[in-house]
Structures are given as C-alpha cells and as structure tokens.
C-alpha cells in the first residue's frame, strides 16, 4: 500500500515538474540606476512575459523572453524617482522596487536673479539662486560647486563660489556705485547662465532750475538732474513745475529729456515757481519777469 502511495507521489511529482519550474518567476533588479543609462534586468522562468515599470516619473512596458535578461537601452528610463517593476508571464507576476537617480553631470541650470533692476550702491541688493539639473531635467541632489560672477560696466566684478545643497545654491551681491547694466553669471561645471541687472540711479539730488523770459511765457529749465552719487537720472522721469500767484497755481508734469526738463508756461510777475520730482523738492524762484 505504501509502495503504491510512493509510486503515485513520484509519478505526480514527475508530471508536475514542468509546472513547478514555470512558477519560479523572478527578476534581478538593480537597486539604483543613473537616469538615462542603459541597464538590464536578468529574469528567470520560461516563455514570453512582460516587464512593466511604473513610477510617478514614467510608465513603460517591454515584452520579454523569460529566463533571459531584459535590456533597457540608454535614454529609455530617464526621470529620477522610485519605480515599481512588475514582471509577469500572464498567470503569475513578480514585483520589485528600484530607484533612478539623477546623472552627476549638470546640463542645465535654472538661474533666478533678482531684481532685474535696482538702485546703485545697494548692499546685498542682488540675489542669485541656482537649481542644477541633469540633461533629463532631474535635480542633481549631490553637492556641487556653483560660482556666481557679477560684473558691472564700471568698477570691479564680484565673485562668490558656493556648494549646492539638495540641488540648490544661492548668493547675494551688492549693486555697483555707478549706473549701468551688470552681467550676473552663474557657472556649474561646463554650464553657465547669464542675467542682466540694470543698476539705475536713485532719487534726484539737489534738483535745481532756472527761469528765463520767453515772450509772454517763462521758460523753465532744470539743471542736469542727477542722483546723490552723481549718476544722471533716467530720461522720462517726471519733474513737476509749479507756479503759484495770487492764490492761483499752474502745474505741469514734464518728463526729463537728455537729463533736463524744460517747459514754457505763462507765469505772471510775482509768482513763485517751484520744482519737484517724486517726493524730492528742488529750489524755488520768485519770478520778476527777468
């Protein structure tokens, strides 16, 4: 009786052996892969199957011959992140987890430079922030050196070098004492990015004007308008002339042109003429007609 049982068991094992072999589905996933690099996933089992790789960054599927390695060519899996791999033969499946990491070579950098325009001679007025990305636009999280260079049209340039943390590096710079455009450059590896910072004059300083007769009107004209550092105030800046007389007043807003503002306006004798720009007041003239 026991012999019969043993024979039966042996026969059953023999019949079932191909199926048992077919169930031993497995794959050997790498723990970590660099973004965009080629890699292969050895599998066991037999017959056709599919390998599905899914993560927030990508989803792809490959038909595979089980028992051989699945090759994923360079540039196929390129978004950094955690991925779930599912190897399936139609009736059974095997699940694995692996990570795609950013490549170590910076390819692009997002350079945030602020502001695009600021007054001259301002301490720490300019900020630069750099995010480093690989060629597939993955944030490179390993520390890397980034240098910032601010060169004004006049005066010495400023340079800082920082090391990125979680893919970001930043710095602050001073604006130059003279007005003009400054070039703000960030370098990381072979990559660089440039921003233009306009360093503009501050408020007018020592605003003054003269008045001369011009027929029945007075011709009012400012001296070249400059800020307190001696930079010419940009053209288009509004200068307000006001003539007050006998409880009456005439005003006109005039934009600067070639550093000066001028206007002709009817001004009666005895009027007081004043000039201002924004909140900065200039000199006053008592108009006698001469």
């Amino acid at each position: 009786m026991s012999l019969v049982r043993c024979l039966l068991l042996a026969g059953s094992a023999l019949v079932a052996s191909p199926f048992l072999l077919a169930q031993s589905l497995s794959m050997n996933l790498p723990a970590r892969v660099a973004a965009g690099s080629a890699f292969s996933v050895p599998t066991s089992g037999s017959g056709p199957g599919t390998l599905t790789i899914v993560g927030p960054g990508q989803a792809l599927r490959r038909n595979v011959q089980l028992g051989s390695a699945v090759a994923l060519a360079a540039g196929v899996l390129y978004n950094a992140g955690e991925y779930v791999a599912i190897l399936s033969d139609g009736s059974d499946s095997q699940i694995g987890l692996f990570e795609v990491t950013a490549a170590q070579q910076p390819s692009t950098l997002s350079f945030l430079a602020e502001p695009s325009r600021l007054p001259v001679d301002l301490q720490n007025g300019i900020s630069g922030t750099v995010y480093l990305f690989d060629v597939y636009h993955n944030l490179i999280v390993s520390p890397m050196p980034v240098s910032f260079d601010l060169s004004a049209s006049s005066g010495p340039s400023q340079t800082r070098t920082v090391t990125t943390r979680y893919g970001v590096g930043w710095t602050r710079m001073n604006s130059a004492p003279k007005e003009g455009s400054a070039h703000f450059v960030a370098h990381a590896g072979d990559v660089s990015s440039t921003r233009v910072i306009d360093e503009v004059p501050g408020d007018p300083c020592n605003l003054s004007m003269t008045a001369t007769p011009d027929g029945v009107k007075a011709k009012l004209q400012t001296a070249p308008v400059r800020d307190c550092s001696g930079n010419p105030v940009p053209d288009g800046t509004v200068v307000t002339f006001t003539a007050s007389y006998n409880g009456m007043q005439s005003t006109v807003d005039v934009p600067l042109k070639k550093d000066i503002a001028q206007v002709e306006m009817p001004v009666p004798h005895g009027a007081t003429i004043s000039v201002a720009s924004g909140v900065v007041a200039g000199n006053q003239i008592r108009w006698s007609g001469q």
Binding site: Q23, A31, R32, T52, V54, G55, P56, G57, Q58, A59, L60, R61, N79, A80, G81, E82, V84, I86, S88, S91, D92, S93, Q94, I95, L97, E99, T101, A102, L112, E114, P115, S127, T129, Y131, H137, N138, L139, V141, R165, Y166, G167, V168, W170, R172
Partner: protein, 165 residues
C-alpha cells in the same frame, strides 16, 4: 499564485484605505541655513499647498486625468506627471497612490522669495491597476525633494522628485 493573495490583500486594503482619515503629517523645524527668513504663515501655506498637491497627484494618476494637475503643479513637475499619465493611458493602466505618512522639513527659501524647497520623508502605497485588476501593490518609503513656487493664490509644485530613503 501571487496574484490571488495580492488581490485578497488589495481587497482588504481598499476599505482600510477608505476608512483611513488622512495621512499622518509631521512638520519639522525649517533648516534654511540663512537664505531668507520664513514667516510662519508662509510655512503653513506651503505645507498646506504641498499636501493639497498630493490629492491632485493621486486623483490625476488614478483617473489618468492630467487636467487635475493644473491647480497644484507647474513647470517640470507638471510636464513629467502628465507625460506619465499619457504613458499610463497608452499602456492601459492607472496607478492608485495612497500616502500614509509625511515627515516634512523646509530646507530652502530663496532670497527673492520666489521658491521654497522642502524634503518630505513620505510613506505611500503604489497600486498599479489595469482596469479593476491590481497588477501590483508596493509600499514605498521615499525621500521626496520638492520645490514650490508661488502663483497668484497658492504655492505650486515645480519639482517633485523622489529618492530612496
């Protein structure tokens, strides 16, 4: 052999997921290293908007609806996620993400105030589904590096990148 226990597990997990109120959230002190002072109101709204973005992320990848990303994601993150949705659509699958726990720390606030970076040590389940069939379910512990930038009314996720814990 695996599929059936897996289905059973998923069947069990689903109501548990539904019963689960919300992922647990732990916010650590910011570690800014002097970049820019962070107002508590800003920190609160960044964390709130980031957690909100997870809702959009879950819904968009579950329903394969990229439009659901519009409010919460922008730039690279938006592009990459919508590409993934397009690929999922092509493969006929969708993914159901369930975030279980977040441990958040703000690590950078740019001097110009135009970007904030945070690190999220997140635990989540990823279920890969084909129709109503679960192809795989995998619990994952990851460290997400997230960069948010301000829009008119909220902070939007611009970079959303996971690395292994």
């Amino acid at each position: 052999m695996i599929r059936h226990p897996l289905l059973f597990g998923c069947a069990l997990a689903l109501p548990l997921t539904l019963c689960a109120q919300q992922a647990s959230v732990q916010v650590q002190q910011p570690d800014l290293q002097g970049s820019r002072q962070l107002e508590s109101l800003t920190a609160t709204s960044v964390v709130r908007d980031y957690l909100q973005s997870w809702k959009a992320f879950r819904a968009a990848l579950d329903r394969n609806a990229p439009r659901l990303l519009d409010q919460a994601f922008v730039g690279t993150a938006r592009t990459k996620l919508s590409d993934t949705i397009a690929e999922q659509n092509k493969l006929g699958i969708h993914t159901h993400y369930v975030d279980r726990a977040h441990r958040l720390q703000i690590v950078f606030y740019s001097p110009d105030g135009l970007s904030i970076q945070l690190v999220d040590h997140v635990t989540y389940d990823e279920q890969v589904m084909q129709g109503n069939t679960v192809l795989a379910m995998q619990p994952i512990h990851a460290r997400c590096l997230v960069v948010l930038t301000p829009s008119q009314t909220s902070w939007q996720v611009r970079i959303f990148q996971a690395t292994a814990e």
